[in-house]
Symmetry: C2
Subunit: 236 residues, 2 copies
């Protein structure tokens, strides 16, 4: 796959319906990209793909390295990231990053964006999840047992995507970011953050989107796959 094209395995609507007990090998995901986000079997935690390495943030916020040969992945979004644009800024929160990206890519209103932010964060609030209590438990219920923590004066990297409105259901419309600390000890889904010094933002616009659906997967086949995920799940 060429640089800056989206590769996605399965759909967010499948996670909403609790389809997470099977998937594809992580090495298959990595064959399509070196940068991205996702989840793990039974939605156990948050995935960060950074420079081709994959980290699993467990339910308690701790991080382990995921073995590409052995890890089975029910959902992920990745790209072979090559920044089209880099800049240094101070930002307040996801709203600040949202405005910055919109300004930087005025012709990408209906395109995908890939984003990476490196630097020292004054604060960053992260969410992670313990995973399903039973097969087919949906993402909304999984997220009721979420853990949040706020890290202060921490160095690390935000990895994520912006998806256009019409891709909702397949993925999450809008911005969706995960974070991992520089020492690779803590991480999670980004709820909010603040910076007081410049951080480095790298991003690119993407117009090609490649979706691979689970095959020979009874759970996926039987799922209702609603189109509209709960927006509040990802917005806050």
């Amino acid at each position: 796959m060429a640089f800056n094209e989206v590769f996605q395995y399965s759909t967010v609507s499948a996670l909403m319906d609790g389809v997470a007990s099977d998937g594809t090998l992580l090495k298959h995901i990595l064959a399509h990209g070196d940068h991205g986000i996702g989840t793990f079997l039974n939605m156990e935690g948050e995935m960060i793909v950074l420079d081709g390495h994959v980290f699993q943030v467990k339910g308690d916020g701790s991080v382990i390295y995921a073995d590409p040969e052995e890890t089975v992945v029910p959902f992920a979004t990745v790209t072979r990231f090559r920044p089209a644009l880099t800049t240094r800024r101070t930002m307040t929160g996801k709203w600040g990053l949202k405005e910055l990206l919109t300004d930087l890519f005025p012709k990408a209103k209906n395109h995908f964006l890939v984003v990476r932010v490196d630097g020292l964060f004054k604060t960053i609030t992260l969410r992670t999840v313990y995973g399903q209590c039973r097969p087919r438990e949906g993402l909304v219920d999984v997220c009721t047992r979420r853990t949040t923590e706020t890290l202060k004066q921490v160095k690390g990297t935000i990895v994520g995507f912006r998806c256009p409105e019409f891709a909702n259901g397949l993925n999450i419309a809008g911005d969706h970011f995960h974070f991992i600390t520089e020492d690779r000890q803590r991480g999670g889904h980004v709820l909010s953050f603040d910076t007081e010094h410049d951080v480095e933002i790298a991003a690119a616009e993407m117009v090609k989107y490649h979706l691979e659906l689970p095959a020979d997967d009874d759970e996926f086949n039987e799922a209702g796959l609603k189109q509209q995920p709960e927006p509040s799940l990802f917005a806050k």
Copy 2:
């Protein structure tokens, strides 16, 4: 691209918002598939891609050959079709074909299907459209000036796709078929049909979906791109 993978240029939600005054060259579409459906600049008529040849059904139901080197296409869905399954049946209408496909592919409830039906049709009712009266006129308004005709005892080919529910907005959820007569003189979007002799059905399941969005296209960038097309537009 491998056999039986979906390639789609632009989105149905873009057509709903009237984004149809620019596009990609037809030869670029044909590089990704030899079988499919779509529309033309300013939504002028219905596209049938059959065995790598492209036909344009004009607003009056007549058919012309579309030159891959010169024709600009705002929206199309194609695949490199290789039937996974063929059968001969008598069917009543789109409902009959729908039931047949569901029976033939029990594990494809949330996958894409590609379909081709060849044979003698007792009746077939077709719709076509004249196209936009002005730039940005949406598909719903374009379809108010539709032409329908019913052909009787006519030989020809149905070409089309089934898309899963979660792909609505990107494409049309459900079945979507176009038709062209064997003599390539008439055609259109299939509203209904009936057979009294066996026709030949060829189909395949598809789990890979490749979307390419218009780039450097102000109309596309400025469009609102609603997720939900009017279902009745395509169901009847």
